[in-house]
């Protein structure tokens, strides 16, 4: 039996054989569950891993591009500064009149440390949809990196995406974020060490990942949607992520949970053998509806309850350099 690649434990580890369910390729992959830190990990990374990211993979779709009129962009930037803690009156008024978009939650705890000129890096950004949104909010120093895109992208508005691994990135960044990309990377510890090098002193690394020590994992097991074999190479636990962070020179400053109804919807349909790309008609109110409206609402409430109990199946880890 092989050892855990995070904590090294070799005793009592269990093997699991989940199926590829996004496209329904009907293949199985072997995963090890560490009996100590709980981390789920693929035992052998497929040679043809890129085949599991076909062109229709969701994060490569061409992102929406809107040009804002200069005056509007200026007001937006003021509002963003207010969200980030700047006391300017115009911005504060605008901030009061609008609800902060979801992506500001990730910056809330950076209040006072991050400004519109802060260097922000999105690793595993796909075609860069989030960076383009941040650009419209007024951020000026945005870079993306993704090894699976076809070639470098330059949107001409300051947003650039490099087809480069972390080790080939230069410079340092005040805020480095990985939105559901860390679990796709073959070497968790090596990746974190590489990230440690590019997070500026006093900066923050945000890892948003699925977590294996969660209600949905316990309930759905192999059919847990976020397992996503073989693309998710590591499904961390709170414990294994803390161990990995410590081993690569980070402290974990905060963990928050942001799971949603999709953990129920997707997993319930995997139980029935419905692949991810076929799922839409089975949603509540659609032609093949597998759920009632009440269930649909309840799933969202249940996700919020689980998040409050730190038992949702996705989490945000905020790491700071030691």
């Amino acid at each position: 039996m092989s050892a855990c690649r995070i904590c090294g434990n070799a005793r009592d580890n269990r093997l699991h054989y989940p199926r590829e369910m996004m496209f329904g390729r009907n293949e199985r992959f072997e995963y090890l569950e560490c009996a100590d830190c709980g981390c789920l990990q693929i035992t052998q990374i497929p040679q043809n891993l890129a085949d599991y990211y076909p062109a229709q993979y969701y994060s490569y779709r061409e992102p929406k591009q809107k040009r804002l009129a200069p005056w509007l962009a200026g007001l937006r930037a003021r509002r963003t500064r207010a969200f980030l803690g700047d006391p300017g009156a115009v911005g504060r008024l605008l901030a009061k009149l609008s609800r902060p978009p979801g992506h500001f939650e990730w910056f809330t705890r950076e209040s006072g440390r991050i400004g519109l000129d802060s260097r922000i890096l999105d690793v595993g950004c796909g075609s860069g949809g989030l960076l383009l949104k941040l650009q419209r909010e007024g951020f000026r120093n945005l870079l993306g990196a993704d090894v699976f895109i076809e070639r470098d992208l330059d949107y001409g508005n300051g947003v650039r995406i490099l087809k480069r691994p972390i080790d080939a990135l230069e410079g340092q960044f005040e805020f480095v974020m990985l939105h559901h990309s860390f679990e796709h990377m073959p070497d968790s510890l090596g990746t974190l060490r590489g990230l440690r090098r590019i997070v500026a002193p006093g900066g923050t690394l945000l890892l948003r990942i699925p977590v294996a020590d969660s209600y949905s994992r316990r309930k759905y097991g192999l059919n847990w949607m976020a397992w996503d074999a073989p693309r998710h190479l590591f499904l961390h636990t709170v414990k294994s992520l803390h161990l990995a962070a410590a081993a690569s020179g980070f402290d974990v400053a905060e963990v928050t949970y942001d799971s949603s109804r999709s953990q129920f919807v997707g997993s319930e349909l995997y139980l029935r053998g419905v692949t991810f790309q076929e799922q839409n008609p089975y949603h509540a109110g659609k032609s093949k509806a597998a759920f009632s409206r009440e269930e649909w609402e309840e799933f969202e409430r249940a996700a919020l309850r689980l998040n409050a109990l730190r038992d949702g199946d996705t989490a945000c880890f905020y790491l700071t350099p030691k």
Binding site: R14, L15, N223, G273
Partner: protein, 317 residues
């Protein structure tokens, strides 16, 4: 290692040892939990299984069988038609004036009428069928392998002694209320049931399901195992596989677990047989059963209760 008898998986399956605890005979039985489809199954069903269904088994209590005739019968028909979502003013008024029997919930959305052909498989003495007959359903029948002999009630309801193989004909609704888990060959049973289904007919299978909160919490002491009478404790996954093998597909699912998943399992943890524990009043503090009931409702809403109902229909081509 044993292979799963539903999906064939032989890797990583685990064995759980459960005891006969309805009567408290405490004989031990091995159950295999499939690491793939999650189905929990009795490894070796006893040769003398009939022994575990003694004459006082709850499903055989002879039901009250008073037929209704004349005007009363006609009024009941009108009321039932209204409960089925159709009918006229009188039926509507009667329906509003009385409490809708729970079983109508199971019939919702299936397009049934009082003349629909309805079969109850594993019906015991046929209590539900007699109620339905009194409410006006004209073509209800049942079958059960463990009753003493064929039963013919004055109202015309016939319950045959036998297995699914003994059945023929075509049905608009075939219901299995906590009987499918007792069958030793679920794959063959599902195929036989599929063959009895009218083209737009439905199969309703209500049963305890493995993998839910109560199974995770209580394991071999989960009351739903009911060793050795429950031979297969299915999951949504294993039901979907059986359906597929029989040319059927899952339509809707509902969860209807109750406080028993807690009260019964807690009895087993304390080594108290179910038939004794259900008579005792001293096992749970005031309010505990209510709390169990509330928790069961929450679990049902999250599809995590220990009992579910699956509607199956012919798979769309």
């Amino acid at each position: 290692m044993n292979a799963c008898r539903v999906c064939g998986n032989a890797r990583g399956n685990r064995i759980h040892r459960a005891r006969e605890m309805m009567y408290g005979w405490r004989e031990r039985f091995d159950y295999l939990e499939c690491a793939d489809c999650g189905c929990v199954q009795l490894v070796a069903p006893p040769e003398d299984m009939a022994r575990f269904y003694p004459a006082d088994y709850y499903a055989y209590e002879p039901p009250r069988a008073k037929p209704v005739e004349g005007l009363a019968a006609r009024l009941r028909c009108a009321r039932s038609t209204s409960y089925l979502g159709r009918g006229g003013i009188i039926g509507g008024l009667l329906a509003r004036a009385s409490k809708r029997p729970q079983y109508f919930d199971w019939l919702d959305g299936l397009g049934l009428g009082l003349d629909s052909r309805i079969l109850d498989v594993g019906c015991g003495a046929g209590r539900l069928l007699l109620r339905m007959r009194r409410d006006g359903f004209a073509r209800v029948s049942g079958i059960d392998p463990f009753i003493e002999r064929d039963l013919e009630y004055a109202s015309g309801v016939v319950v045959r002694k036998g297995g699914i193989d003994a059945l023929s004909g075509e049905y608009d609704l075939i219901m299995l209320h906590h009987s499918f888990e007792h069958m030793t060959e679920p794959r063959a049973a599902m195929q036989a049931l599929a063959a009895l289904l009218a083209p737009s007919g439905h199969l309703l299978v209500r049963l305890p399901v493995a993998g839910g909160h109560a199974w995770r919490k209580y394991g071999a002491n989960w009351v739903g195992l009911d060793a050795p009478r429950h031979v297969f404790l299915h999951t949504t996954r294993s039901m979907a596989l059986l359906a597929e093998q029989a040319g059927l597909e899952l339509a809707r699912t509902f969860y209807d677990s109750g406080s028993r998943q807690f009260s019964g399992s807690e009895m087993f943890l304390r080594d108290i047989p179910l038939c004794e524990g259900e008579r005792r009043k001293d096992l749970f503090a005031l309010g505990e059963i209510d709390a169990f009931e509330n928790r069961a409702r929450d679990l049902n809403a999250m599809r995590d209760g220990d009992c579910a109902g699956f509607y199956l229909r012919r798979a769309a081509r």
